[in-house]
Symmetry: C2
Subunit: 94 residues, 2 copies
Amino acid sequence: MAVQSLFYSDRDGLEMALKTPDSMLFTTKADADARDKMLELSENIQLWLEKKIPAMPEEYAEQCALLIAENKDLFQKALKKPEVLSEQADTDSE
Amino acid sequence: MAVQSLFYSDRDGLEMALKTPDSMLFTTKADADARDKMLELSENIQLWLEKKIPAMPEEYAEQCALLIAENKDLFQKALKKPEVLSEQADTDSE
């Protein structure tokens, strides 16, 4: 028997992390860091969208921002080659 | 007197370009190309958002996509350094 570590992001908070351990609770610090960075990006995008499109309801700004942050690498490619988004939209069943 | 050229993007269409010449009608092909590329990116982002967030009304997907495409360079930076978005949100009065 030995002590085990668990990691979560402050941005999710402990309560949320315990409720949704599959996506929010990690056995390595690196994985929790990756989620924290993703959430940081998502928060910044959301605030920017809300500022620039004041009429858009918060829920859509949040969903949009999270989607982009979760697909950061794809999105980065898309800014140079937009059609990668339609390829993913066609084939991906997420 | 001499013949002058004007350029617009098919994605806007002639009718729209004539109605909104300040942003859609150009005296150089390069400028019209830049707008065409921006609109191509915007269309791809919009379709992707609509596919991934089916509940989001089309108008918000369109506004979101256009905002991101119009601010492609900023967004590209933000994917690496999210806080550039909040700097812009704070200082920019657009």
